[in-house]
């Protein structure tokens, strides 16, 4: 285990990556999604958030290659005359932002709790793990819905609009930490009793440092796997919340919001308004999941 991190990034990983065309493809797709999202303000053909640039006359334009398509709007426009491609890029930005932040949040919480529980042991351990167990019994989407609902009801609407993004991140993030905590705790328990940790303890290295410098590196592999797989879930959770209308505020539409809005036009022939964001969402989640799957198998040789 001590060399898990080193092993993770040596040529083995790279080799198994290169050998799996599916993984390479999904990495490319993920990269396109991420770049498209990150660079949206610079490379998107339009700015869908600038109301002053919208023209109702441009509404419901089909994709550029279709009969009435307009080359200005590659994937067509929606009911407000927004460029679908730009909306997707900006939407993916929100989706990714929420997904990544939620995963980072749950990773931080989960790893911290796991380290603490594993390292301290005793009552603290059983208490923390009991909380994790209880929370694990509730499906994360329900927890996210509830957290969002309670905050929504508790704070005034104007305040809520401003913090909505954080609420969603918190709601999704808080629903996933126990997985991390459990894994980290397990590894910590193993590491805690190893000689080098005991030795470090005896020579008086602070407990926090031991955890951070010795125990933490050993759990990075599995944490990375869980985080990647969770990213897919987090993005889906955000899309689901937004689809139900309780996710990110409509002023910052994510992919889920775009799908919800576009759904109204699905049956009327303006399929591009919902199908393209749907495809973008699926591509993003699928590529992230494939990467996560590959990473799990690559870091866990037994599964090969």
């Amino acid at each position: 285990m001590a060399s898990a991190l080193a092993r993770a990034f040596d040529s083995d990983l790279w080799w198994s990556f290169k050998r799996s065309p599916v993984t390479v493809a999904s990495a490319l797709v993920a990269l396109v999604c991420i770049l498209g999202a990150l660079l949206a303000p610079w490379i998107a053909p339009h700015n869908p958030f600038d109301l002053a640039t919208l023209n109702l006359g441009d509404a419901f334009k089909p994709p550029a290659w279709a009969e009435d398509g307009d080359p200005l709007f590659g994937l067509g426009t929606d009911d407000q005359g927004r460029d679908v491609l730009s909306a997707i890029m900006y939407g993916a930005r929100i989706s990714l932002l929420v997904g990544v932040c939620a995963v980072v949040f749950s990773t931080l919480v989960g790893v911290a709790v796991g380290l603490l529980a594993g390292y301290l042991g005793g009552t603290a351990d059983s208490l923390l793990m009991r909380i994790a167990d209880i929370q694990l019994t509730f499906p994360s989407i329900l927890i996210a819905l509830l957290v969002d609902g309670v905050v929504r009801a508790a704070v005034p609407r104007e305040v809520h609009d401003q913090i909505a993004l954080f609420v969603v991140i918190f709601a999704i993030g808080i629903s996933a930490w126990p997985q991390f905590a459990r894994t980290v705790r397990g590894s910590t328990l193993v590491e805690r009793n190893k000689e080098y940790v005991l030795a470090a303890r005896i020579i008086g290295i602070s407990q926090v440092r031991i955890m951070l410098t010795h125990v933490l590196p050993n759990v990075i592999g599995p944490v990375l796997v869980i985080a990647t797989l969770n990213l897919g879930f987090a993005i889906l959770a955000e899309a689901t919340l937004s689809f139900l209308g309780v996710g990110v505020p409509p002023t910052q539409p994510s992919l889920g919001t775009l799908i919800r809005i576009g759904n109204d036009f699905l049956f009327s022939g303006e399929w591009w308004i919902t199908i393209f964001p749907g495809i973008a969402l699926i591509c993003m989640v699928l590529s992230v999941n494939l990467l996560g799957d590959w990473l799990r198998d690559a870091l866990n040789p037994r599964l090969r």
């Binding site: 109301l51 002053a52 109702l56 005359g81 009327s268």
Partner: protein, 532 residues
Amino acid sequence: MRVKARAVLRTAAALALLALGAGAVQAKSVRWAASGDPNTMDPHSQNVGTVTMVLQQVYDPLLKRNQDLSLAPGLATEWRQEEPTRWRFTLRQGVKFHEGEALTAEDVAFSVQRALQPTSNFGIYVDTVDHAVAVDERTVDIILKRPDPILSNKLASIFIVSKSWSEKHNATRPQNTRAREEMHTTRNTNGTGAYRLASREPDVRTVLARNEAWWGWGVEGNAGNVTEIVYRPIASDATRIAALLSGEVDFVMDPPLQDLNRLRAAPGVKVIEGPEVRSIFLAMDVNRDELLYGDVKGKNPFKDLRVRQALYQAIDVQAIHRTTMRGQSVVTGTLFPEQVNGYVKAEDVRLPFDAARAKALLEQAGYPQGFSVTLDCPNNRYINDEQICQNIAAMWSRVGVRTAVKSQPLAPFFAQIQKDDTSVYLLGWGVPTLDALYSFQSLLAFRNGDQGDGIWNYGRYSNPRMDALVQRMKTDTGEARQAAITEALKLYREDVPHIPLHHQMIPWAMRSNVQIPHMANNQPYFRWAVVN
């Protein structure tokens, strides 16, 4: 009032079809869907379209409407104005409630009184009524506080309920929905209408069964053959349409506009459309001294006529008509459509769309950089309400008024604006009385505590001239009254308390085997419906 030729034709067609199928007595069921579910079955508690559309199948008013919305005898066979403040109604004979009680004058008097109770939401229809008395078994007098030229039109919205039944079930006053009260009438009905309530599961399904004993089946025109109506609320547009297309539902009252073309092309489905007596407009807070929701401090731009005009002229309503409404709207520059008594064609003129002029006006008014404002908007009440608001936000932003749309479901939306807690909001106004007074009184009169005055005037527009004109509409008759209405319409255009947008067109979608006349009040009357 003009009779709509199309409606007549349609009725004729329906009658002809009925004649063909006459004699075949068999179960004819109509499965009917719309987005919302009635929140009560109490006849006088909620003056909302979704409630009325079910209850008007079950309850009869004294006066009913024809297919062109003109008045016809209902439970009353005759009515006349005995004195300026006393109307006399003669009741139809042999009418029985669904639970068997015979209709008496006491029931009618009781029902009018019930609509007058504080928990009633129908006060606007009886605002001039002082009280009602039963003169004899078949005669009722309604005593007014002041003369009311349109009383008969208003009474067409008051359902008649059994007195003894109400007393028996402790329901002598309407259910108080504000106090979250539940009573017998929340889920039970006892009317005299063509259909009786067979079963009700709120939010799931409401079943109405044909009342063979209805007095009207013999009356000319009431030639429907529907024996059962199953109403189901289906909130999701896509699901509702999918259900109609797959034949699970026969009749959809509110098909989404974007699906109309597809529905028209679909086999076995047809779309009929007609105007609705409902006008969509934006109302601005012209009362506060400081803008409530926006970045202007110390003053309220909406108090400046030039700003109101600028925002008016910044709106390309034709684009909304073409794109968002898909042609299903009648662009307007006035307060109500032509079906409403008092409509003046010459006053139905818009300020032209002119973004440059809008900018210039804003600059003149002292807002060269524009300002920001929040537009309050319902998102499940009117056709494409939220999209319209977004359209307008974009158009206003183009002239520098940075607009944030705050859209919410109708319950919180109404709760908010009813506290005057808004700077500018979108509203749609239907006119069930088909008379101009109803709109002017509710929307533009100053709220002075009088029954009905200014109760929907949340921008708190106040102009003594308007108030005086409203008072004249209440009492004057004939030419004088029309003059008052015309003047009020003119004032409406000059003052710009609202920015009118359009009158809604209401498409109804149904399976091809269903014939039901389209009604401008957006109410289906199944007594005229034919299924084959």
